[in-house]
Each structure stands twice: as C-alpha cells, then as structure tokens.
Symmetry: C2
Amino acid sequence: MSSSPMIIRAAIVGYGNLGKSVEKLIRAQPDMDLVGIFSRRSELDTDTPVFPSAAAADHAQDIDVLFLCLGSATDIPEQAAGYARHFTTVDTYDNHQLIPDHYARMDAAAREGRHVAMISTGWDPGLFSLNRTLAAALFPDAQQNTFWGKGLSQGHSDAVRRVPGVRRGVQYTIPNEDAIVEAKAGRGAEISATSAHVRECYVVADEADHADIREAITTMPDYFAPYDTTVHFISDEVFERDHQGMPHGGHVVTSGDLGGSRSSVEFVLELGSNPDFTAASQVAYGRAAARLTAEGKTGAFTVLEVAPYLLSPVALEELIRRDV
Amino acid sequence: MSSSPMIIRAAIVGYGNLGKSVEKLIRAQPDMDLVGIFSRRSELDTDTPVFPSAAAADHAQDIDVLFLCLGSATDIPEQAAGYARHFTTVDTYDNHQLIPDHYARMDAAAREGRHVAMISTGWDPGLFSLNRTLAAALFPDAQQNTFWGKGLSQGHSDAVRRVPGVRRGVQYTIPNEDAIVEAKAGRGAEISATSAHVRECYVVADEADHADIREAITTMPDYFAPYDTTVHFISDEVFERDHQGMPHGGHVVTSGDLGGSRSSVEFVLELGSNPDFTAASQVAYGRAAARLTAEGKTGAFTVLEVAPYLLSPVALEELIRRDV
C-alpha cells in the first residue's frame, strides 16, 4: 500500500482535436510535465515544443508516456506498434471488432521494447467497457444495453444538409427515455437499434421551405424514416449560439435478478465535448501506464486490467481515507 | 493475458440477511462451490453443511475464500482479523471513518497468514468508492456529490411508528431530482444534506387521526422538519403488497470543466434488495480475492486496488472480445 509521488514526463503525437484536448489536460495535471508534441508539420499553433515525428525515437529517454492522438481508421493500425517499441504508449483506438488484433500487435511491440501499451482508453471503448464488465460480473444472468447520446452525429448531420433548402443543419442522436426504463426493468432484450434512440434535427431555412424540408427529412429511408425524428427550425443566431459544440454521451444499463430481487446499475456520461472527455480518460490511463512501467510491467493492457487507484494523482492512502 | 479457469471453494461465516443472500448467489456462480457455513448455532434452516465457527481454522485447507457476513458494529472489528490469519477473506465493513484502521489490522493479519483480505466490498463503501475515485481522476477540479436512495431508512421508519395513532409505517429517503441536476451542472457545492434528499412516509392509521399524524411527522425536529416530507396514508393491503422489501440505491455524480467544456459522470444504483445487491458485490470481489491469492499476492486490498476483469467469471480474452 504505497504510491510514491512521481512526475510523469509526457509527450503527444498528433495534433488534431484530440491532441489539442490532451495538451490542455496534461497541463492541468499536478504530476505531469509536457515535454513536447511530435508532428509531421514543423509549425503548429502552440507554445509547446514541437519535434519532427520521424525523429521521435531520439527522445525516448526523456519521455515516460507518449499519447497517441492519431486516427483509428489508418494512423493507429499503421503507426502505433512502431511507437510502442520505443515508448510506453496510450491510445484511444475505437474499432471494437479489431481491438483483439490491435491488442496482440501492441502487446508484441511493447514487450519487445519492455514498455507498456495501454489501449482503447476513451469512453466507448474505454470507460463504458469497464462498466460493462463490472456490472455484468454482479449478476448471474445480466441484461445489458448501451445507449449513445445525446450526441452530434456527423453522418446524419450531413444527410440533413443535403436536403434542398437547408442552409445549416445538425442532428443529435438521443437515447429513448422509455427504452432506458425498459432496460432497467430487465426488458432490454426487446429493444431494437431503432427503438433505443430518437433523432432531433436543428435546421436553418426559409419559412416557405419548412414543410417540404420536414417531410424530406422524416421520410428519408434508413437515416430517419425508421426513427422517431423531430425537426426544429431555428434562426442563424440560435444556431450559432447553441449548436457549435461536439456534445456526446450515453448510458450503460445493466440489470438482473439476484435470487428473488431485481436491481439495476447505470453509468451515464453527459459530455460537453467529445474530444475533451476522450482526452480526459486517455490522460488518466496515461498516468496508469507510466506507473505500471515504473513497476516493471510490460505488454499491452486494456482498461479492464487497470486497478482504479492508478488513474488518480492522489496517493492510495489518501483515496482510501476520503473515497472509500 | 490469461485467466485460467479455476473452481473457487467458498464458505460463509454469519447467516443473517447478508449471509443468506451470499449463499444463494454463490450457488448461482459458474466457478464457485459452496463448502459450508460457519455459525455459532448448530442448526440453521439450510441444506448447506454447517460447521461450528469455533473450529473454522480446521477447514482452512478446503476453502479458497471465506465470506465474512458479520455485522460492522462489533463482529467485524472483533472477529475479522482472526479469520484473516487462516483464510483469504472478503468483507463488507461499512464504517467509512474507521476503514483505514480496519485496512491496517486486516493487512497485518493477512500477511501473517499469507492470504488476501478484501475489505469493504459492498456498494457504499465499495462500488460507489470505485466510482468516486474513477470519476474524480478524470477532472482537474472535480465537483462530486453522493446521493442515497430510494432507500428504506430504519431509523426514520422507527420515528414514524412512534407517532400516536400510527399502526404501521415506513419511510423512504429519496434523492432530490433537482439537486442531481444541479450537481451535474457543477453547482453541487451548494447542495446541503437536507436539500439533497426528500422523505416519503407510508402510514396505516384510522382516518380520524390522519391530520394529526401528518402534522406530527412533518414538524418532527431533525428527523423530518428540515426536509421536504410527504406522508401517504394507505391500507393494510397496500402496505403488505408494496412495502415489505428493502430497496435502496443512490447516485454518485461527478462533474467538472475540461478546459472550456463541462462534462458529467453519473453512477446510479436502483436496488430491489439492499442485502442481495451488497452480496452480489461481495461475491464478485470474493472471486478477485481468490485469484489474487492464487497469483501469490498477500495483504489487504480495497476495491480501488482490483482490476475489473478479476471480478468476472468470463476469461479476459473473451471480455476483451465482447465488452471492449
């Protein structure tokens, strides 16, 4: 029972939305120093030192954990294992079906370099995975449903904007509250993908076009027709004030019988910014990765394999005193 | 990355509400065998083998984990360390302020016997502790509130039943929904103990006494006067049908700023039976305790120190495939 104070020297590779969020959150940690950002571009709009990503390995001795803020589509599959040979890494790889392959590749690379590779540490996969495993372990026969939202959906927003007459538009996917109540009551097996969520669209358009636009959206096959869809017409001013963010979130609902009584466990996220919260989870698991490396551990780890106290900058003794 | 299938030989000491719930849940686990129950009484109403608790140590070689289903007030402080010298144990000790002392005592005893002592594994302390630590670790400056209920309160139910004219009565403590919304929005520091909860009483009494009883309850100092209190008068039939259970639950709400955006994390329990759910958490952490002992670990552990996959009967590879 001890957690020695340790200053963690951190670096980032990739400087999109996620990398920028990780940068500001590392700076807010009491136990992390931001050494630099690796990028293919020589000039970034930041006062953090920027180094060419091609020369990253030269800095390996100065870095305790490297945050891989790279895209899941191609960058992570192509580049992550290369970094794991030289650094303790933490990523937010989110292609659920390919995670076992990613785990195997990162495990081999990290063991080769005697580092830790912490994988898929965002919120889904990530914190939702942790809650799915934790809650399912409590019930002999668990019923489990994951709901996503309220969240900005890029694909559906694009579909709205393609409707003639729409000047500006966004679409939010929202969990159906009735479906959540059903899931808690153990009737989640009957919930379909379409009944679990409703769709809300916010559109700026000339008033003469409103009726046609509403009809075109709500009857659009696949995208909106199977769903309970609502279209709100708003002004440019309201659009700019209220619909510029990247909100997201969701619910993991687990319920079951415990030998005569029924209970439910629910984990809910309401996120003002998807990249900021994904970064918050990645930064906390980056702390755990650095500590596991300091303990002499090697190989790939998922969030399922990390003891919760390793995420906190607060010493274990103090956590036990105040949280337990 | 491996979790070998292992049959865990379990036993129970103490056969009150918690012990009975643990008994039925151990029987529902795919990887546990129930060896017996230790009791000071020679006859228990069960078909599980019963052994005298004075001779427990004689059975130590046949038991992988001993569930301590004893009261927190006096039994755990007096007896738990004695068991930890001979067995890997798991308890639900719930006196928050004394947990550091309990940890130290169990750590010493478990190390002496080269066992694991998993402590305070119910839901608060327990699963709520895990969520407080996890969620607080995500925010540089977290605002955190714990709400309890809907729950049957024994002390307040007793106070209702002492009011003249009350034939039967129960009281439920219920989180104030408005206070939860405030907490998610980051204004939880202003929530007081009284504003966080409302109190609902269900009373059976003669109609002639209703007005006096309502007045006596809602103006009772400390117990009800400072709270938003509602009194419902119901029939004997409704009382027997709807108010015989031991429901409980609660919310851990954490929110904070992530450098320009605000997010919230909420963990919610709705429990049909407090002892059944406490037992469900204890049984899952009992599995973790047996596995840690099998790995050669010794000493006391809190829920903060346990990797989530250790709670599940499902192998890690399969959990990664389906939950992550």
